[in-house]
């Protein structure tokens, strides 16, 4: 009936621009042919090609044309809109055209780069151009909505990344809430003894930052807590945090630890997580002396009072500040923040997946993290390298790439193992004087002063054997091997199989995403890469941004990463958050939906479809309405409205129908 009526009306004047992108596009698409083709399409007033449309001269050309040729619409065929849509909208605005009278055609990522036949790639480019030109006619003049940004920030994860990000933001005068799942901040770094390659003591450089967090007036520190819910949108997030009960009042405890001495368990009896189970703790405990906050907690799994309710509670008695509260319950808190920094860290590879290395079967086999505690002055052995059987190792073998660079387990290089293996080699030698053998595939020491550190160890007489260890066994073939752990390995430099007898084996485990990375990313509505680490918005140009505005990532939750890089990234994430906050407002894409009141029959179909409760039913008018600030522009309601009474800006039916016709019409 009224179909395609608009076609017969006089068409708005379209300017079409196609980009060579150097040779990126031009090498696979006949740019001139497309430019000529577009020139002949109805409504096209100007059609040009240019080497780099995104360059200043390119944008200038557009702005100039808009004025001179009275262009009413703009189409640019170049790269992905995810990259340069904003650029060309600005160019349009410069020329005095509403930026939304613009449509971008992706002929680089979606054509030039993925096809091998120039002819068909060019045809595709024509089709896409034709569709955009057909569609842009229906575009309307739109404005971006501005919404204020809440200046407060949430940092999730209190490892070195979270600590650094929180301090950076707090020092800039922002109110920061730092949420940490464990009872103390510090993360993995707090468990380390020294840090490579400088060998400065981890505690010495970390603890000042930890206490700075605790004492900073702008930082609220919530440990033993987890984010359970995130609502809202960039600049205006509502976050729900669950605080697990410590059974000790945080504000009253001063960390004197007299309760620990008083506990009915005279001796520490339970595996102590912080020391990787090498040490023992009591039901009432504190992870380590510098734990922050320095507040004890009670473990409900092992505390007699909490398990049976029948305990004399000497701990509580010993506390003159009456900090104990065995009835403490988990509490939920709500926060309003404008930006969120995720620095949830990593998990080390589970060595049970590599049974050939005998972990759990041979007491002499350790994971790298265990050894970190073993060589640590404040560790269970006070830094003395003592094996589980009480003996001191004379020879130690360090196996690199356990759970890294391996088709059977994890394909990726964990990036830190070579360096921390060198560090451990040095420390073990230093602490025990043992012979140390490193079994590596390739030695990767690409950081500042890293290669030099490797040299230094070569000088120290640490042995390096290039080859992936096949198995660790206690089967002795020779008298020398008796009572030893034997590492069987092909020495790929010497070209034969060797058996190296040692007393201690260290498995340099790789880094993996946190086991709950998937739930976490869903909670924060961001993506994960195929290996399970958080997905950055762009691998090179937006490494700490995510696809959800206002949510940034830092540290090893994004990929395996060492301390210097992690801290640098945390700074970057903080800076991104600051630039968002200090702008004071965000401009929201105007691709929201709206209901044409006089067309709405009030059938309510759309109301339950909106995940953001942006659609409400006006009982007085008996019609539905959309709150365009809450609307995030998915368009589900527009697709569902049975009487076609909902329009989504930039994705109106006419626009999409004409785009469909456009790609197909020949």
């Amino acid at each position: 009936m009224t179909e395609n009526k608009s076609k017969k009306e006089t068409l708005p004047r379209v300017g079409f621009y196609i980009c060579h992108c150097g040779s990126n596009i031009a090498s696979m698409i006949d740019v001139l042919e497309v430019q000529k083709y577009a020139a002949a399409l109805p409504g096209v007033a100007v059609s040009r090609e240019y080497k780099y449309m995104c360059s200043d001269p390119g944008q200038e050309m557009i702005a100039k044309d808009i004025k001179e040729h009275k262009l009413e619409r703009l189409v640019v065929a170049a790269c992905s809109p995810n990259l340069h849509e904003e650029t060309f909208r600005k160019a349009a605005a410069k020329g005095g055209l509403n930026p939304f009278f613009f449509q971008m055609v992706n002929i680089r990522e979606h054509a030039a780069w993925v096809h091998e036949d120039k002819k068909s790639a060019t045809e595709k480019a024509k089709d896409l151009a034709r569709a955009a030109i057909a569609r842009v006619r229906f575009h309307k003049s739109l404005d971006k909505k501005r919404v204020a940004v809440d200046p407060n920030v949430l940092v999730v994860g209190g490892g070195i990344a979270g600590i650094h990000a929180a301090l950076t933001l707090a020092n800039a005068g922002k109110k920061v809430t730092l949420v940490e799942r464990e009872a103390t901040i510090g993360g993995h770094m707090a468990a380390f003894d020294k840090t490579f390659p400088t060998l400065d003591c981890a505690a010495c450089i970390l603890t000042p930052k930890m206490s700075a967090v605790k004492s900073h007036p702008n930082i609220t520190l919530w440990t033993y807590s987890e984010v359970s819910k995130v609502e809202g949108y960039v600049g205006n997030y509502k976050v729900t945090v669950t605080r697990k009960p410590r059974f000790v009042k945080e504000d009253l405890c001063v960390g004197c630890m007299e309760c620990i001495d008083a506990c009915v368990f005279k001796e520490p009896k339970f595996k102590d997580k912080f020391n990787q189970g090498l040490g023992k703790r009591k039901p009432v405990y504190i992870d380590f002396p510098q734990a922050t906050p320095k507040v004890v907690l009670v473990d409900p799994e092992t505390c007699i009072q909490l398990k049976t309710g029948k305990c004399k509670q000497p701990c509580a008695a010993a506390c003159d500040r009456k900090a104990f509260d065995f009835n403490q319950k988990a509490e939920t808190k709500e926060l309003q923040v404008g930006a969120i920094v995720l620095s949830t860290g990593f998990k080390t590879y589970d060595v049970a997946r590599s049974p050939q290395y005998g972990y759990g079967r041979y007491p002499g086999v350790y994971t790298a993290l265990e050894v970190e505690r073993l060589v640590n002055a404040s560790g269970p052995t006070s830094g003395e390298v003592v094996l589980r059987d009480g003996t001191h190792p004379k020879a130690v073998g360090i196996i690199h790439c356990v759970g890294s660079r391996d088709a059977k387990t994890n394909k990726w290089c964990s990036r830190v193992c070579c360096m921390y293996s060198l560090k451990l080699a040095h420390l073990i030698k230093e602490h025990s004087g043992a012979e140390v053998y490193n079994f590596y595939i390739d030695m990767r020491a690409p950081g500042k002063a890293y290669e030099e550190f490797y040299d230094k160890l070569l000088g120290e007489g640490v042995h390096f054997i290039r080859g992936r260890v096949d198995e660790v066994t206690d089967w002795a073939m020779t008298p020398e091997e008796e009572g030893k752990l034997v590492l069987r390995v092909e020495d790929t430099l010497a070209g034969f199989v060797r058996r190296i007898p040692v007393d201690m084996v260290v498995l340099s485990t790789g880094l993996e995403p946190q086991p709950d990375a998937q739930e976490v990313r869903r909670r924060f509505n961001i993506g994960c890469g195929s290996e399970g680490f958080f997905q950055e918005r762009h691998p090179k140009l937006a490494p700490v941004n995510t696809f959800t505005d206002g949510i940034y990532i830092a540290g090893a939750c994004q990929a395996p990463r060492d301390i210097p890089d992690t801290v640098a990234q945390a700074g970057a994430a903080a800076a991104e958050a600051l630039s968002l906050i200090d702008a004071g407002f965000v401009e929201l894409e105007p691709n929201t939906s709206h209901i044409v009141e006089e067309e709405c029959s009030g059938c309510k179909t759309c109301v339950p479809l909106c995940p953001y409760s942006a659609i409400t039913f006006d009982e007085a008018k008996k019609k539905a309405t959309i709150n365009e600030v809450l609307c995030k522009g998915c368009g589900v309601c527009a697709a569902a409205c049975p009487s076609g009474s909902i329009r989504q800006n930039l994705f109106e039916d006419d626009e999409i129908f004409s785009e469909i016709e456009g790609v197909l019409a020949k």
């Binding site: 049974p355 050939q356 005998g358 206690d474 089967w475």
Partner: protein, 290 residues
């Protein structure tokens, strides 16, 4: 209770007779409904594969085809049979070309094969179908004081580790502990016993067998317990030669089914205890048995 078909293969009818006797006796004692596969033929063993691939698959495939008519799981106690039948099963599933040829060959013999048969090992069935709980209940006569070195050999965990760990298998250990025995921990559970090399390149084969025996002894085992007729044959049968070439080890090599049978109170005579070349009498007596 589930029904099974039993594929003996040549060994259990010959050198591994004791394995068959003890295996069937144990099944009987456990009340398992198990029946020998009718008209079965040689599995082709591991050697044939490398000579005549397709034919070897057809040879083994015939057994699968016969089994499929009954639609029951097949238990293959011999490691070689177990491996070959599984390999064939896999090849027929994944390689359409081979399946076409083999099925044609079978058709010529009035048979067909869809690929539904499951080939299983006694350990798998005892642990996962019967269950340790039930077995423990039937242990009338635990073999206290018997210290065993459980030896699995290469074929049931390589290349397919379907029911146990490839590097450190434990199912047999569990059964032996249930039987009241003590198990030494040792790293050679799946190391090569010498296989056919004992016959072809004795200097190598004997050495490999010797390594196993010696290590078991060193770890204080009174006997090796195994599940593979060839391993049993190598380790038990060549001890004389080994004694003359290296040293006398004098280590009885039993089948796990024998130990299980004894623990369940079955008479040694039904379990072929006496068939071993190195007599187990002494150790078993030490274990307070018979």
């Amino acid at each position: 209770m589930k029904k099974y078909l039993y594929f003996p293969g040549c060994s259990l009818k010959g050198s591994g007779k004791a394995y068959e006797e003890s295996f069937l006796a144990v099944c009987k004692a456990l009340g398992m409904d198990i029946r020998e596969l009718e008209d079965w033929n040689c599995c082709g063993a591991t050697a044939y594969m490398s000579v005549e691939e397709t034919k070897s698959y057809a040879l083994a495939g015939r057994n699968l085809a016969i089994a499929e008519r009954e639609d029951l799981d097949v238990i293959a106690p011999c490691s070689a049979c177990y491996l070959v039948l599984n390999k064939t099963q896999k090849a027929l599933k994944e390689n359409t070309e081979i399946r076409r040829k083999v099925v044609n060959a079978l058709k010529a013999g009035g048979l067909d094969y869809k690929g539904t048969v499951k080939v299983r090992h006694p350990l798998d069935v005892l642990i996962n179908d019967v269950g340790l709980e039930k077995i423990s209940k039937l242990i009338k006569n635990p073999v206290k004081g018997l210290k065993l070195a459980p030896y699995y050999g290469c074929q049931i965990v390589r290349p397919y580790a379907t029911f146990d760990d490839q590097h450190d298998p434990v199912t047999m250990d569990k059964l032996m502990k249930a039987a009241g025995a003590e198990c030494v921990t040792w790293p050679l559970k799946t190391r090569c016993c010498g296989g056919s090399l004992t016959g072809t390149v004795p200097e190598v084969g004997l050495r490999l067998a010797y390594i196993i025996l010696k290590e078991a002894k060193k770890r204080g085992a009174g006997a090796i317990v195994t599940l593979c007729p060839l391993c049993q044959f190598n380790l038990d049968g060549y001890q004389g030669k080994i004694a003359s070439k290296y040293e006398s080890v004098d280590m009885p090599v039993l089948y796990f089914t024998q130990v299980l049978g004894l623990a369940m109170g079955l008479p040694g005579s039904e379990l072929g205890i006496k068939r071993g070349i190195i007599s187990a009498e002494a150790v078993l007596a030490g274990g307070g048995l018979r």
